[in-house]
């Protein structure tokens, strides 16, 4: 189940950033990639909103900068 969500998140981040899925893992974070910049982060937030059908709060936006933090947010 967790792996399924993890895969979905990795795929979502890959789509939003243009980073190949094979290069992303559970420990990946924005600082690891040039392509995972602030604009890509907005795209990730919009994708998450589509996925959960709910707006991401402003106070949480800045925290969604790693696979783990996105997973924690979705828990």
């Amino acid at each position: 189940m967790t792996n399924n969500i993890e895969e979905k998140i990795i795929s979502l981040v890959s789509r939003s950033t243009g980073i190949p899925e094979k290069d992303i893992n559970i420990n990946s974070k924005s600082n690891d990639f040039d392509k995972w910049d602030s604009l890509a982060n907005v795209k990730i937030i919009l994708e998450i909103e589509k996925m959960i059908n709910k707006r991401v709060n402003v106070s949480k936006m800045g925290e969604l900068t790693s696979i783990k933090s996105i997973l924690n947010y979705l828990k």
């Binding site: 392509k35 602030s38 919009l46 402003v58 936006m61 800045g62």
Partner: protein
């Protein structure tokens, strides 16, 4: 009362420390009141007549926070949030920018409106941002438990009150109430002393000595030629780093005496290999605040989310960052240059997949930062342009006779370079500190 003031170090701090641990041992929650009272005293020491302002801000924003949390209707919550943020920004604008706005109106419309000459309340820029983050947290239901003493301490905690870092409620308050943090911790105490000493070294030995040369250079800018122009600008670039990061080190160390960990604010920023990377390392809590509370909501609100629009927002967010530093067009230029640097950096990343040599990338970044700091420090545009002219050799290349003073500054500059580039930063020290165990024979 600054941290390197002997009254603070040898009288105020020991009294607060002893009172804190005595109170936490004997009375429930009394340690919180010790820190609140010491915060008010610390603030009032600067100007007793203006200290009620921070108290008014604390009381009114706690009230707004409660109103937001208790509002059942979503729209009402949002309206209260917007109104309270507006009031906070308005107060900041009145105290910090009213004369700047009047000056510009007078210039544009040839008017003659008198200046208000309002004093600027200490730390207002910092506690306004912290307050806004708290109000947004209230709106987003992130605040699980809040009462007046805890909120007051969150704003007036004296180690980070006047120069940051900008902290979040949920990072600080659980630490204030953690049972473990109520007791004296020898490991934290020793580590804190080391961090405070590093901060004092950066501030008093490096920054303050460099400032003598910087002040002379920026005052007599007409006399600067190539070498003295570079020495002046480089001295300021290192001075501002050691001044600010030294102060943050002292704040981190002082907070650690009370077993409180402040967030990282400087991560060896002059080792950055791009402007994007620089803002991931310099004044991190300000950059995070701007990204979370201005950039993200702004970009997200765009009907057409594309690279160009995001870059325009990036530029203007950094114009705001510039003006946040103070009421001057030179700060606006400083912010704009960083915004422009970020736009160029992002554009290069997107369009060209250049694999620039790491040293070259660092060299370009460092010199660009050094160039922008000339605007940050200058009194006016003429001053800045004159220094930049001297740096590109337009005011001559002659090498003047080095006096003893020049040799001293040059030595400080070399120590600054070594400290900046060859040593790990204070945060690394805190994270990796392992006390030496003395084995008994």
């Amino acid at each position: 009362m600054l941290f390197h003031n002997p009254i603070f170090l040898f009288i105020f701090l020991p009294i607060v420390l002893v009172s804190y641990f005595y109170a936490s041992k004997h009375f429930k929650n009394a340690h919180l009141y010790v820190l609140i009272a010491s915060g008010i005293f610390f603030y009032a020491w600067w100007n007793i007549y203006l200290s009620p302002l921070i108290i008014v801000s604390i009381v009114s924003n706690f009230f707004f926070g409660k109103l937001i949390v208790n509002a059942i209707d979503k729209n009402r919550r949002k309206r209260i949030l917007i109104f309270s943020i507006f009031l906070n920004v308005l107060f900041l604008a009145i105290f910090k920018y009213s004369d700047f706005i009047i000056q510009n109106i007078n210039y544009i419309f040839s008017a003659n409106i008198g200046m208000l000459n309002l004093p600027f309340p200490l730390a207002m820029s910092f506690f306004t941002f912290q307050t806004i983050a708290y109000l947004v947290d209230c709106h987003d239901n992130n605040i699980k438990e809040s009462n007046f003493p805890k909120y007051s301490l969150f704003i007036i905690f004296f180690p980070q009150l006047i120069a940051g870092p900008i902290v979040r409620y949920n990072h600080m308050v659980p630490q204030f109430t953690d049972e473990k943090n109520k007791f004296f911790n020898y490991q934290n105490f020793y580590l804190a002393l080391i961090v405070i000493l590093i901060g004092l070294f950066k501030k008093i030995f490096l920054a303050d000595n460099l400032s003598i040369y910087v002040n002379e250079g920026f005052t007599n800018y007409q006399n600067l030629e190539f070498i003295s122009g570079w020495l002046t600008s480089l001295s300021f670039t290192f001075q501002i780093y050691f001044d600010f990061s030294g102060y943050i080190d002292m704040a981190t160390g002082i907070a650690l005496l009370f077993n409180i960990r402040l967030p990282l604010n400087f991560d060896s920023p002059y080792k950055a290999k791009s402007i994007i990377n620089f803002w991931e390392r310099w004044h991190i809590t300000l950059a995070k605040f701007l990204t979370s509370y201005i950039y993200f909501p702004w970009v997200k609100s765009l009907k057409n989310l594309n690279f160009l629009n995001a870059m325009i927002v990036t530029f203007f967010v950094f114009v705001i960052a510039g003006i946040w530093h103070g009421p001057s067009w030179l700060y606006v230029i400083f912010g704009s240059l960083h915004g422009l640097g970020l736009v160029i950096n992002h554009t290069f990343r997107k369009l060209f997949r250049l694999n620039i040599n790491k040293f070259l990338a660092w060299f370009i970044t460092f010199n660009y930062i050094n160039f922008t700091f000339v605007f940050f420090r200058s009194e006016n545009l003429t001053n800045a342009i004159s220094i930049l002219k001297s740096m590109i050799g337009l005011n001559g290349f002659y090498i003047k006779d080095f006096s003893n003073g020049d040799v001293f500054v040059f030595s400080i500059l070399i120590i600054s370079v070594i400290t900046t580039f060859l040593f790990k930063n204070t945060n690394y020290l805190i994270d990796n500190y392992k006390p030496i165990k003395i084995e008994k024979n």
